[in-house]
Symmetry: C2
Subunit: 324 residues, 2 copies
């Protein structure tokens, strides 16, 4: 079995070795740029860990694992256009550095290359892996559409929100693990449990992200605190606060989210104060704990020796209780 750090090293080496000698350069340069922006590489790592858990071959799984990273980066490239995001991992987004047309088209190309890399797997496993991957790709698009819808929708429930982040974020984590598990010849039952582990991990991961956006340490988190509040994003914290707020706080919260005269910094401070008064930090933590417990329950069901699961457990803990 491989350690997390050894898998990470192999993965980073494969990414560094990626080269597209193809032309036109206008199409391929943004792809190389995007893949080299860094990031946690969680999804391809989960792919490899899913494979490794069932003792699958890691070397031949590296390129299929990169398919997931290519796909994920393609979605970021298009999301950044839609969200008008100028920065990604501290650098210019592709549509800012080049232009929107190039971001659309090099994104499309990355999506195609992702399929290319996935197609390299054992043909006997290909139909099942493809179906899962494509189904997940559609779900991620659906999640992004819901996310955009919610911006304009006055009433969003916590259940709506959870369904949105399930589609936009969690299913791809489940898919990554399950694809790796299929490559490792896991039984269908075990493959589904590892998907469940990833899905719960993804839900918790996103809530932790929501939490850090308000209560994180700016230096560690790597982006400005309160971005979700400034942009009126209906996160778990906001929806929970709306649910539990007494009339006074409710109207203060609504006021903060609707009065454009309140300065951003002041807005963040006021909303954070309300969240604190309403114990939203703890309530979000409680929900993350539930997803963490669910994830571990799924992991427990998988028919491999318990000591093989340690790295996945450690990663889950690290992701759900991180401060960066």
């Amino acid at each position: 079995m491989h350690s997390l750090s050894s898998l990470r090293t192999k993965l980073e080496q494969s990414i560094a070795a990626l080269s597209f000698q193809d032309k036109p350069v206008e199409l391929y340069e943004p792809i190389i740029y995007t893949m080299n922006l860094g990031g946690k590489r969680i999804r391809p790592l989960l792919f490899l860990m899913g494979c490794d858990l069932f003792d699958g071959d890691i070397e031949s799984s590296l390129r299929p694992a990169l398919a997931i990273e290519l796909f994920h980066n393609f979605t970021l490239l298009h999301d950044d256009i839609m969200d008008k995001a100028p920065l990604r991992r501290g650098k210019d987004t592709v549509y800012k550095k080049w232009n929107t047309n190039i971001a659309i088209l090099s994104g499309d190309t990355m999506f195609a290359i992702a399929y290319d890399f996935l197609t390299e797997v054992d043909p006997a496993l290909l139909p099942e892996m493809l179906k899962l991957f494509t189904q997940t790709a559609r779900e991620v698009c659906e999640g992004q559409q819901y996310d955009m819808n919610f911006e304009k929708q006055s009433s969003v429930t916590i259940a709506d929100y959870i369904q949105m982040i399930r589609l936009k974020t969690a299913v791809l984590l489940g898919c990554s693990l399950k694809l790796g598990a299929i490559l490792g010849h896991a039984s269908p039952v075990d493959a589904n449990f590892i998907y469940g582990f990833g899905e719960n991990l993804g839900l918790g991961f996103q809530l932790q992200d929501d939490l850090l956006d308000v209560f994180g340490n700016e230096d560690k988190f790597g982006k400005a605190i309160g971005g979700d509040i400034v942009t009126n994003k209906k996160t778990f914290l906001y929806l929970k606060a709306m649910e539990v707020a007494v009339p006074n706080d409710l109207s203060a919260l609504k006021h903060c989210f609707s009065d454009p005269k309140i300065q951003p910094k002041e807005k963040v401070n006021r909303v954070r104060d309300i969240y604190t008064r309403l114990d939203i930090h703890e309530k979000t933590k409680d929900q993350i704990d539930i997803y963490y417990a669910n994830a571990l329950k799924c992991l427990q069901e998988i028919h491999v020796e318990e000591n093989r699961k340690e790295e996945l457990k450690a990663l889950a803990k690290q992701l759900l209780f991180r401060d960066f």
Copy 2:
């Protein structure tokens, strides 16, 4: 064997039967809208004809054939954003009717669904078909990028232009036929010849399109004549004219393409006069004839009874010598 009209009927029925009960509707409505805009359906028809030539099963090929139509429509959806095209087949383009974000995302979803439909083929044939499809998808993106590059590039040769339309248009016709042929269990040699037939057909098809844009009948062609001239597009006609023009015509042509004070209608008339003087209509026709002959040569090499090839020959003639 099936007649062209019976294949067309089956195809139209499959398209009409397409339904995506999926949510969110904001994502799936534009897909249904786009698929129902009509069009010649050349690509999926070629897919079915390629399959039929080798006596493959048509019923089970309908959904894989639709994969090509979905893919093609996805590219149109994104191209229309990039080209700022307000109309497609006389109706609002998706980014105009909805918005750019929805056009990006529903396009991405169509691309994924195309893979879904293709994945339904016999697993034994899947890897080869996927590789060809993905390779073609990348080439189509490359062609679109070259097309955008040429807008800003001062010097474009005829060879550059042919390579661009080969990638942007021709390879998908070749791919459609070859995918159908693979499904019909054609030999690798025959499958490559039918690809060659489609590629030459595609090159001729695009030149005929360039020709109709200048010399077509507006009512029959279905769009305004001279659009390429108004937008300074470096088509085969323009590049050929630049190649053969004597100094006087050369400077007149350059003047037309660079002086923004010339009114569109006047510009189209002047350029068409120059083209006529330089015999560009005939020169383009000659080039189309070459592609037509090449296509027929490829068809001739295929090991099936000659009478089975009649429908493909008729279609080629119809497409390359059309006036609409």
